[in-house]
Symmetry: C2
């Protein structure tokens, strides 16, 4: 009834558990006669052997686990939740294809314990609040990939859409001076301020949405102007209350097909998830210290 272990296989095959381990892991440094190998493989199959990864990671010191951490705060509004969950989902698929399992964790405050407890091999963190995070980050020696966050320390690997180029492109679509900007609320202050700076707009022409209602009342005031919206979920909501042709939407979640066809869409060549996963694999598989590009900005198409 109990799950078979390495030892069980070893006993059945009259070899040592070491040999079984070699066979099952295709140990490079060991040569195993084909006969033993097949015998072991056959018995493992018969018994329905499945390795216990907790035991494995205890000794190998690798958990095979990647963590996706999202602050609960970032998950309150639909547009942010969808954006992050979409990315998380894609990330999980990519990680899974590379042999990693994914721990999804929604942080309360600074509950980063999980990184150490579960010995995560890598961590993806969305929209990191700098103060909260910076203080404790040096406790870990994990590759940390920050998404949608600016934190000027080479310790962190940052992946973001190039808001700069995206805004330039959106401006091009709109070709008009008198613009407005709608964006989501970031926890990461640096990024938020950078976007504001890049827009070159004054405060009254910028709306940072925390509640749905804010969007509608802001748009009402700008009825005859053109504007840029960051985040296509916000874009899609806006379009129910605003002429689509007056809008350029920066699709940071990779879901431009949600938009009305008359709205101009800025899309990106690569998804955040794919870039993040790629970066992580580099970090994990190359010698340390990896050449640490401070930021990876994903270009619009």
């Amino acid at each position: 009834m109990k799950k078979p272990t390495l030892k069980d296989i070893a006993a059945r095959a009259s070899v040592s558990s070491a040999t079984v381990s070699y066979v099952l892991n295709n140990a490079a440094k060991q040569s195993i006669p084909a006969e033993t190998r097949e015998k072991v493989l056959k018995i493992a199959e018969e018994l329905g052997y499945v390795p216990n990864l907790a035991a494995r990671s205890l000794v190998s010191r690798k958990s095979g686990l990647a963590g996706i951490l999202i602050s609960r705060e970032s998950t309150r509004s639909v547009w942010r939740r969808h954006k992050f969950l979409e990315a998380a989902n894609e990330l999980e698929q990519l990680l899974s294809d590379s042999g990693y399992h994914t721990l999804l964790f929604s942080l309360r405050d600074d509950s980063y314990q999980i990184i150490a407890e579960r010995k995560l091999d890598a961590v993806f963190l969305f929209d990191a609040a700098e103060e909260e995070f910076y203080a404790i980050a040096n406790q870990f020696d994990v590759p940390l990939v920050l998404i949608d966050s600016m934190l000027d320390d080479p310790l962190f690997h940052k992946i973001l859409p190039s808001y700069e180029e995206a805004i330039r492109q959106a401006e091009g679509f709109l070709n008009q001076e008198d613009r407005f900007l709608v964006m989501e609320q970031f926890r990461n202050k640096a990024l938020k301020e950078e976007i504001i700076r890049l827009s070159g707009l004054k405060e009254t022409d910028i709306c940072i949405i925390e509640e749905e209602e804010q969007l509608y009342s802001f748009l009402l005031k700008k009825r005859h102007r053109k504007g840029i919206i960051i985040n296509e979920y916000l874009g899609a909501m806006a379009i129910n209350h605003f002429p689509p042709e007056q809008l350029a939407v920066i699709c940071t979640a990779g879901n431009e097909n949600l938009l009305h066809p008359e709205a101009a869409a800025v899309t990106f060549a690569e998804s955040i998830a794919s870039a993040a996963c790629k970066r992580m694999l580099e970090l994990l598989n190359s010698e340390w210290p990896a050449e640490s590009k401070k930021y990876v900005w994903i270009k619009p198409t």
Copy 2:
């Protein structure tokens, strides 16, 4: 530089590692003098001790891990992806509040290995394809909570919105005989057929959406009729191409605020995630065999 272990604390405190374990786990069966207890706690604090959960679960035979499994196929279309990811996210938060960590896993074919490998304490599975799943399900002795799936075996615990009552209520809103039905494509055949049966409609009045385009062309043909849409994401998409007042939308993802106010919305009293989590905790904390309600149907409000 290395992470401190129980032993390190024990050494510093001149007690055995067992004592440390007792203190740190507030072991009920052991009485520890306040003095030792404080000493241990203080040192643990100083050293920044964090338990290694892999080691713990190796011996305690509980991983503290709950799995959320979603077939990759179920994740292809936005409306299903959003629905499942929303539920997964809520589930994760609830699980986390109950002390469980969450493994998010998108299945390819029958890659259920992860359940055994990681010794998951519980598994949530969305939209289970019966053939694929039934064959291998008896390999596990985990509480299995199936969401949006019908599988008549008391081995599985099923949580679903009450499509029956929801459809009745939607019909009430529409008060008209000549209805149509739009729904998503389920992998679980039994559920799909049950919904079709409950609708009482003939094939030409039912549209099962796999691609966005199908939705629009179907609606075009039904322009002057009233209809029921299951899944509010589909509902929201429909509204861009169809008079909202002719629609009753069954909001199985708990996001009714996405809908146009003139569309009738059927909402549910409790979220799927909350019901599923509750069920899981019952199963985990009560004596075996738990009273096995075959199905939990969540009622519309």
